[in-house]
């Protein structure tokens, strides 16, 4: 599947740039899919998550304490936006310091262990793979950060069949 990391202008600001994953086949981003899948049942949570993302982009930056870290393998930056008390939705992200955030997908978290929920496991592993691929491309100088460290630049298009 071909996908591309794209910046969400609506949510980004001078504190952080917020990216998501656009799937060519679906012509949708992972964040739009997350919204569509959950808006009917968890509307207030979706609004709260979106408000928090706007605040991160425009007011406070992607500071570590707003996230549950270590949701991937050590050092890959995969994390989840902190689950608000009494709320069910989980949204996975990749943090690059406090200036860059890639939001993936997620869903209701009804089990304690990720491995017990295939949907969340798939969303989480997609971000682990993306993080590994971005790290590899940064090493190969195919992706780099802008001068102010607030943008990804370079080749942000990926293909699952690219695996080497």
């Amino acid at each position: 599947m071909k996908y591309e990391v794209v910046k969400l202008g609506y949510l980004s600001g001078n504190k952080a740039s917020i990216y998501t994953i656009w799937f060519e086949e679906l012509n949708r981003t992972s964040f739009e899919i997350f919204i569509n899948e959950n808006i009917n049942v968890f509307k207030s949570e979706i609004k709260d998550i979106t408000s928090r993302l706007i605040t991160i982009g425009k007011k406070v930056g992607a500071r570590e304490h707003y996230f549950k870290t270590d949701e991937g393998i050590p050092g890959d930056g995969v994390c989840a936006l902190y689950d608000a008390p009494g709320k069910e939705l989980r949204l996975y992200c990749i943090r690059y310091g406090s200036l860059l955030l890639i939001i993936g997908g997620g869903g209701p978290k009804k089990v304690k262990k990720l491995q017990q929920d295939n949907k969340l496991k798939d969303e989480n592993f997609l971000l682990r793979e993306l993080s590994a691929e971005i790290t590899e491309r940064i090493k190969n100088n195919e992706i780099w950060f802008s001068e102010n460290n607030m943008e990804f630049e370079g080749n942000l298009t990926f293909n699952d069949q690219d695996d080497e």
Binding site: K7, Y10, W22, F31, T55, V60, Y82, N141, T157
Partner: protein, 145 residues
């Protein structure tokens, strides 16, 4: 290696646009305040040279409770905020009592009291007028003869 700029620089979406229209300014403002408060507390912990665990110990809570506080989603009680202020030596509130009445001093310079008033009933008239306004004032007449 040639660097190629990504063609899709910024993504616009009607799904997100519609959702943003449903978020009220009050909702957004509440989220901002909670997240800014969490950032302020996190900064104060770091300024103290503490880790989250140190702060948890100092305030008598579990580290997991501190994580909740710093998540930007927590609804603090006022007492907890007062405890945080005390432990971290910070001010989260700027509390002060402002008087609801403004006192001003007016100096009236009267050269001639109209003939129908003597000194006493002129003073009484002025005070009566002032008491009807939002100001409280002291007035007096200096007789300079």
């Amino acid at each position: 290696m040639t660097r190629t700029m990504n063609s899709r620089k910024s993504y616009n979406s009607t799904v997100i646009d519609d959702l943003l229209r449903e978020i009220t300014s009050d909702e957004l403002s509440g989220t901002e305040k909670r997240m800014l408060l969490a950032a302020r507390i996190d900064d104060a912990i770091k300024i103290k040279g503490w880790r989250k665990q140190d702060f948890a110990k100092a305030i008598g809570k579990k580290p997991s409770e501190i994580s909740k506080w710093l998540s930007g989603t927590h609804n603090f009680t006022v007492d907890t905020l007062f405890d945080i202020e005390r432990i971290l030596d910070i001010h989260l509130f700027k509390l002060e009592c402002k008087p609801d009445t403004t006192y001003k001093t007016y100096v009236y310079s009267v050269t001639n009291i109209p003939s129908q008033y003597n000194q006493q009933n002129w003073l009484s008239l002025m005070n009566n007028k002032l008491s009807k306004s939002s100001y409280k004032a002291k007035s007096s007449i200096n007789t300079q003869n």
